[in-house]
Amino acid sequence: MKKKKIWVIDDDAIYQIIVTKIIQKTNLFSTISSFYDGKNGIEALADTIANKESLPDIILLDINMPIMDGWGFMEEMAKLEALKNKTITVYIASSSIAYEDKLKSKTYPAILGYLSKPISINDIQLLASND
C-alpha cells in the first residue's frame, strides 16, 4: 500500500509540532507538510500544481487562522481548475465546539469529516485507511 501525502494547515505552532509527531508515529504517510494559515496553504497548493509535483492526499485544516481562515482556503481551493480531476480529502481539525462551524463544514463536498482537537493517533490512522 502506497503511503499518502498529508498537509497540516494550522496557525498553532505547538499543535503543528504535536500533530507532526502523531502522524510520524502512525507511519502511514510518506510526507507531512505544515502551513501556518490558509493563504500560505493555498499558495503552496498552487506552486505544487505549477511545478507538477504530487498533490497531498489529505489536508488537515484549522478554521480560525489569521490572514485567510479555513473557509477562505476552501473557497480558494474550489477555484483551482487543476484539482477538478483529483480529489483532495479535507478534514477540519478545530478546537471550536461551535455547532455552526460543524454545519458549515458539511456544505463543502470536499470536506470529508470534522475532527475536534485534540487529534489522537487513532484519528490519523482512521483517516489514512478511510479511502
Partner: protein, 946 residues
C-alpha cells in the same frame, strides 16, 4: 267771368300754399329788379361809349392837324425846287419849318427816290443815299404814293437816325414828270405828345396801331396794357397812314360793381317781401290745419267710442226705460246672453232677467224715470239663450238730463259669475273650517283680542321692546288681569270643552279670565308681548292647572286668522295637552344624562363621528383630561381629529380607519396625538362601525390613553435589547473562552498522550518543554480572559475628568521607542482644554492600543503619519485617529476586527488581543468604536465618548 274764376282759384291756391306764393312774389320782384338794373347798366354804358368816342375824335383831330402841318411843310420844301430840279435855300427854309412844327424832326428831299437833302444833317447822316424805291419795306408805300399822287405817311418805322417815326412823303412832279419826294420825318413820340396834350386819359388806355401792309397783321406801337377788342373800347382809323386809334376803359368792371349793390339790395328786398307774404299767408293755413286736426280728433273719438261700445270687455246696452226694449247692445253683451243683435232688438230686459231679480231691477228703473236717483248698480241674474243662469253686475245711467223727458238708459253689464262661484266656495270653505274646528283633536279657541290691542295702545305699549312690556306687566298684575278680561272667546270646539271639563260652550264663551291662573299668567303675558311686537304667530309651552287641580303641560299655539292681523278680531288658540310627551321627554333626558355621566366615568374618550368625513358629532369630557382640548374645541373643527394626529402617524392612521370603515369592520389601532400642551399622547382607539341598511352610517369608539403602556413597552424593549446584547457578548465570551482554552487543553492532552507513548528520554524531555510552553500560553490566555472579565464586570471602574491631550502625550511617551524606530509623525489637533469624563486606565489603554497598532501596521513604503482629531458627530464627542498604514480588508474581516485573538497579518507581534480589549473598555464606558479602512491606504478609528 271765367278768367275771374281762374284768378280766384289761383289766389286760393296761392293762399293755400304760402311758401309757393312767397317764392312766386320773390321771383316776380327779382325779375323787375333785374330788368331795371339792366336798363340802368345799359344807359351808363352808352354814356361811357359816347365820352370815349368824343375823346378819340379829339385825338384824331389833333393828329390830323399835325399831319396837315407836315403836308404844308413838305409842300413848302417842294416849292424850293427850281426848274432845274435843284432846291434853293433848302436849309434855311427847313430850319424855319422845323422850328414852327414841333413834331417834325427832319426834312428830306428825295430826288428819284434817293435821299439827297436832309435837314438837319446832324444825326441823319445815315439816311443819305438811301434808295426808297429799292428798299423793300418802303417800296410798297412809296409806289402807292406815286400812283395816287398824294402824300402818304409811311410807318411808324424804325428810323435810321434812331427812334420810331412816321415818314410823310409827298410825290413831287415837275412838268408832269415825277421828280422825287419831299419828305418829313415826324417822331412818333412827339406826334402823340402834341396830339394828346389836352386830352384827359386818366380813365383810359390809348393805343396806336397799324395794319402792316406786307404781313397784314396789326402792329401796336404803344405798350399793350389791356385788351382793346372788348366792349369797353372804341377805335377809329386814320386813312392818311392806315393807322388805327383805340381807347379802352381802365376800370372795366366798375360798372358791374356799381350795379351790384343796388341789385343785391333789390334781391334782398324781394326775398324779404316774399318771406313776409309767406308769413301772412301761412296764418290761415295753420288755422285750417287746426280745424282739420280737431275734425279728425272728433272723428277718432267717435270711432273710439264706437270701438269701446263694440269691443268693450263689458256688456253695454242702450235700453228704452219705458218699454224695456234693447235699442242697441254691443258684442260683449250679445256673447254674454247668447243672443244676436237682431234677436236682442226684439226682446226686453225683463224677458231675459231672472224672475227673482226682476222686481228689484224694475223698482230701480222706475226711480230713475221719476228722477229720484241718477243711477243705480245691482247684482242680478240673466237667463241666457241656452237657459243658463249668469250673474252680472249691472250699472244703469239715464241718457237724459235732469228735468228732461226720459229717452234711453245706458246699462253696463259685467259678468260676475266666477266671483259668485268663488264666494260660494268661500262659504263652503268657511263651513269646512267650522267642521275642522269643531272636530279637531286639539282643544281650539277662537278669540277676539281686538279690545286687548286697543288697551295696549292706550297703555302705550305697542312696539315697545319685549323686555319693557314684560317688566310692565310683572309690575302691574292688575293690568294683566284687565287685559285677560278683555279677551273675548268667540268659539271653542268640542275638544276644548272636554279638555276644560265644561259641559257647554256658553260657559267658555264669556271671558278668558276664569282660565288664567297664577301659573298661567306668565303665558298670557307672553301673548300680550307678542301682540305688542305685532307677531302673527306664537308657539310656547306652558303649565296650567286643570279643573281637577292637576298640573298639565300644554303647547299653546296662537295664530291670527289672515285678514285680521290689524284688528286681532279672530285669533285661533290651540292648547295641546303635552303632559305625556313632556313626561316622556323628561325620561329621555334623564336617561341621556345618565348615559353621559356613565360615559364621563369611563377612563377613555368616548366619541362618535361621521363615517365618511370623520367629522365628530360627540366627544366625551374625558378628552379634556387626556388631551387637554375641550369637547367644544374638538367639535368646532370638522377635521380636528386628523389635524391633531402626530404627523408621522397621520396618513397611516387615517388610511387604516378609511379601509376598515369601508370594509364595515370594527377595528382598534394605536397612534399618537398631539395634546394641547404639545406633548405626544399614545392612544388606543377602539372603533365600532355603525351599519344601517348595509351602509356604514357612523363610527363610535373609545380612545384610551396608552402612553404609559407604550413607555413601559419601550423600556421593556430597551431592557430586552440590553439583555440580548449582553447575552450575545456572553455567548461570544464563552466561545472565546472555550476556543482559547480548548486549543491549549487539547494540546496538553495530545502532548501527554505523546509522552506516554514516547520511547526515549530525549523525546520525553522535548515534549515536556513543549508542555511547558503550552502551559505558559494557557496562563497568558487566562490572564487575558481575566482582564476582559474585569472590564466586563466594571469592577473598580471610576470615571474622572481627564485632559485628553495629556493622555495622548503620555501614550506617545510610552511608545517613544517605536515612534523613533519607525520615524512616525503624530499630529494632534485637539483643543488644549478638552476634558473628558473617562476611566484613566482605560483611556491610557485605548490610546496605547490604537496608536501602537497604527505604528506597528505602518506601510513599508512610507513613513507613518498619524492624525488625531476631536470632532462632534450626532451630538457625541468623537476622537478620531487615522493613519496611512497598510489598512485592513474590511470586506473580509469586518465582523472579526474587534474579536479576541483575531489577527490579520503574519506579524509575529499580532496577538489579536489589543482591539478586543479596547472595544471592551470602550463598551464599558458606554461609548462605541468604529473602523474605516482601505487596504494599502490607511485606517481610521472613531472612538465615541459620552
Amino acid at each position: 267771368m271765367t278768367s275771374k274764376n281762374y284768378r280766384l282759384k289761383f289766389f286760393r291756391w296761392l293762399i293755400a300754399k304760402p311758401k309757393t306764393a312767397g317764392l312766386f312774389t320773390f321771383l316776380l320782384l327779382s325779375t323787375i329788379v333785374g330788368f331795371i338794373g339792366f336798363q340802368q347798366y345799359k344807359i351808363v354804358k352808352d354814356d361811357e361809349q359816347l365820352v370815349m368816342k368824343n375823346t378819340l375824335h379829339v385825338i384824331h383831330q389833333n393828329i390830323e392837324q399835325s399831319l396837315k402841318n407836315s403836308y404844308t411843310s413838305t409842300l413848302t420844301v417842294a416849292l424850293t425846287i427850281n426848274d432845274q430840279g435843284i432846291p434853293e435855300n433848302f436849309d434855311t427854309i427847313s430850319k424855319k419849318l422845323l422850328h414852327s412844327n414841333l413834331p417834325l424832326s427832319a426834312i428830306q428831299l428825295v430826288p428819284k427816290g434817293v435821299v439827297k437833302y436832309v435837314y438837319p444833317m446832324k444825326g441823319n447822316e445815315a439816311a443819305i443815299g438811301l434808295n426808297i424805291l429799292e428798299t423793300p419795306y418802303l417800296k410798297e408805300e412809296a409806289l402807292q404814293s406815286i400812283k395816287n399822287q398824294k402824300m402818304y405817311f409811311a410807318g411808324p418805322i424804325k428810323l435810321k437816325q434812331g427812334g420810331t417815326g412816321i415818314v410823310g412823303r409827298l410825290p413831287v412832279f415837275q412838268g408832269g414828270d415825277f421828280w422825287g419826294f419831299s419828305a418829313v420825318i415826324i417822331k412818333l413820340k412827339e406826334l402823340l405828345q402834341t396830339s394828346l396834350a389836352y386830352v384827359d386819359l386818366s380813365k383810359y388806355y390809348f393805343q396806336f396801331s397799324k395794319i402792316d401792309p406786307t404781313t397784314k397783321k396789326e402792329v401796336y406801337f404803344l405798350p399793350i396794357e389791356n385788351n382793346f377788342a372788348n366792349n369797353y373800347s372804341v377805335s377809329l382809323v386814320v386813312p392818311d397812314g392806315n393807322w388805327k386809334l383805340a381807347l379802352t376803359a381802365k376800370q372795366q368792371n366798375y360798372l358791374t360793381a356799381a350795379m351790384l349793390i343796388p341789385t343785391i339790395l333789390g334781391l334782398f328786398l324781394a326775398a324779404l317781401f316774399g318771406f313776409l307774404i309767406t308769413l301772412i299767408l301761412k296764418k290761415p293755413a295753420e288755422l285750417q290745419l287746426l280745424i282739420n286736426q280737431q275734425a279728425e280728433k272728433l272723428l277718432k273719438s267717435e270711432i273710439k267710442f264706437k270701438t269701446i261700445f263694440d269691443q268693450a270687455a263689458v256688456g253695454i246696452t242702450n235700453v228704452d226705460p219705458i218699454s224695456g226694449k234693447f235699442i242697441e247692445a254691443n258684442n260683449q253683451f250679445c256673447e254674454l246672453v247668447g243672443f244676436t243683435q237682431q234677436e236682442l232688438k226684439e226682446k226686453t230686459y225683463q224677458s231675459i232677467t231672472h224672475p227673482d231679480d226682476l222686481a228689484n231691477d224694475e223698482n230701480n228703473i222706475s226711480k230713475i224715470k221719476q228722477g229720484l236717483i241718477r243711477n243705480y248698480s245691482i247684482e242680478k241674474r240673466y237667463i241666457t239663450k241656452e237657459g243658463n243662469i249668469i250673474w252680472v253686475n249691472l250699472s244703469v245711467s239715464p241718457l237724459w238730463n235732469e228735468n228732461e223727458k226720459p229717452t234711453s238708459t245706458i246699462a253696463v253689464t259685467q259678468d260676475i259669475t266666477l266671483r259668485k262661484e268663488a264666494e260660494e266656495l268661500v262659504k263652503k270653505t268657511e263651513n269646512r273650517y267650522k267642521g275642522i274646528f269643531e272636530d279637531s283633536p286639539l282643544p281650539l279657541w277662537e278669540e277676539d283680542f281686538s279690545e286687548v290691542k286697543k288697551n295696549l295702545e292706550v297703555l302705550g305699549l305697542m312696539h315697545k321692546s319685549e323686555e319693557e312690556v314684560t317688566a310692565y306687566f310683572q309690575q302691574n298684575p292688575n293690568e294683566t288681569k284687565k287685559c285677560s278680561a278683555l279677551v273675548k272667546v268667540i268659539n271653542v270646539n268640542q275638544e276644548c270643552l272636554r279638555f276644560n271639563k265644561v259641559d257647554n260652550k256658553e260657559a267658555l264663551r264669556m271671558s278668558l279670565s276664569p282660565f288664567i291662573h297664577e301659573e298661567s299668567i306668565a303665558t298670557f303675558v307672553q301673548q300680550l308681548v307678542a301682540i305688542t311686537q305685532e307677531k302673527k304667530k306664537l308657539n310656547l309651552e306652558a303649565i296650567i292647572i286643570d279643573n281637577e287641580n292637576q298640573f298639565r303641560n300644554i303647547n299653546l299655539r296662537w295664530n291670527i286668522i289672515s285678514g285680521y292681523e290689524d284688528t286681532l278680531e279672530r285669533v285661533i288658540v290651540s292648547t295641546e295637552d303635552i303632559t305625556e310627551r313632556k313626561n316622556t321627554e323628561k325620561k329621555i333626558i334623564d336617561s341621556q344624562k345618565q348615559i353621559e355621566s356613565l360615559i364621563n366615568t369611563i377612563d377613555g374618550i368616548v366619541w362618535e363621528c361621521d363615517s365618511k368625513s370623520f367629522c365628530f358629532s360627540f366627544i366625551s369630557k374625558k378628552v379634556e383630561r387626556i388631551l387637554g382640548y375641550t369637547p367644544e374645541e374638538w367639535l368646532a373643527s370638522p377635521t380636528f381629529w386628523a389635524d391633531h394626529i402626530y404627523p408621522e402617524d397621520r396618513e397611516s392612521t387615517v388610511n387604516y380607519c378609511i379601509l376598515k370603515t369601508n370594509q364595515q369592520l370594527n377595528h382598534d389601532f394605536e397612534y399618537r396625538m398631539i395634546a394641547k400642551n404639545g406633548s405626544i399622547v399614545w392612544l388606543k382607539d377602539i372603533v365600532n362601525v355603525v351599519v344601517e341598511n348595509d351602509n356604514s352610517i357612523s363610527l363610535r369608539g373609545i380612545m384610551i390613553d396608552i402612553t404609559k403602556n407604550k413607555e413601559s413597552e419601550e423600556d421593556l424593549n430597551n431592557s430586552f435589547n440590553l439583555v440580548t446584547e449582553q447575552n450575545k457578548r456572553l455567548l461570544n465570551f464563552s466561545y472565546i473562552v472555550s476556543h482559547n482554552l480548548r486549543s491549549h487543553t487539547s494540546n496538553i492532552t495530545s502532548i501527554i498522550s505523546l509522552i506516554e507513548m514516547s520511547d526515549s528520554e530525549e523525546e520525553k524531555t522535548d515534549l515536556l518543554l513543549l508542555l511547558k510552553s503550552v502551559s505558559n500560553s494557557l496562563n497568558e490566555t487566562m490572564l487575558h480572559l481575566n482582564e476582559v472579565i474585569n472590564i466586563r464586570n466594571n469592577i473598580g471602574l471610576v470615571s474622572e475628568s481627564v485632559n485628553l491631550n495629556q493622555y495622548i502625550e503620555a501614550a506617545q511617551n510610552v511608545l517613544s521607542e517605536q515612534i523613533t524606530a519607525k520615524k512616525a509623525t503624530i499630529l494632534t489637533q485637539i483643543p488644549r482644554d478638552v476634558v473628558v469624563n473617562y476611566n484613566p486606565a482605560y483611556l491610557e489603554s485605548v490610546l496605547y492600543n490604537i496608536l501602537s497598532n497604527s505604528i506597528r501596521y505602518s506601510h513599508p513604503d512610507r513613513l507613518p503619519i498619524i492624525n488625531i482629531k476631536w470632532l462632534i458627530e450626532d451630538e457625541m464627542n468623537v476622537l478620531q485617529i487615522s493613519d496611512n498604514g497598510i489598512g485592513i480588508d474590511l470586506v473580509k474581516n469586518a465582523d472579526k476586527i474587534f474579536g479576541m485573538y483575531k489577527t490579520f497579518s503574519n506579524n509575529p507581534e499580532s496577538k489579536g488581543i489589543g482591539l478586543f480589549i479596547t472595544k471592551n473598555q470602550i463598551d464599558a464606558m458606554n461609548g462605541a468604536i468604529t473602523v474605516n479602512s482601505i487596504p494599502n491606504e490607511g485606517t481610521t478609528f472613531k472612538i465615541y465618548i459620552r
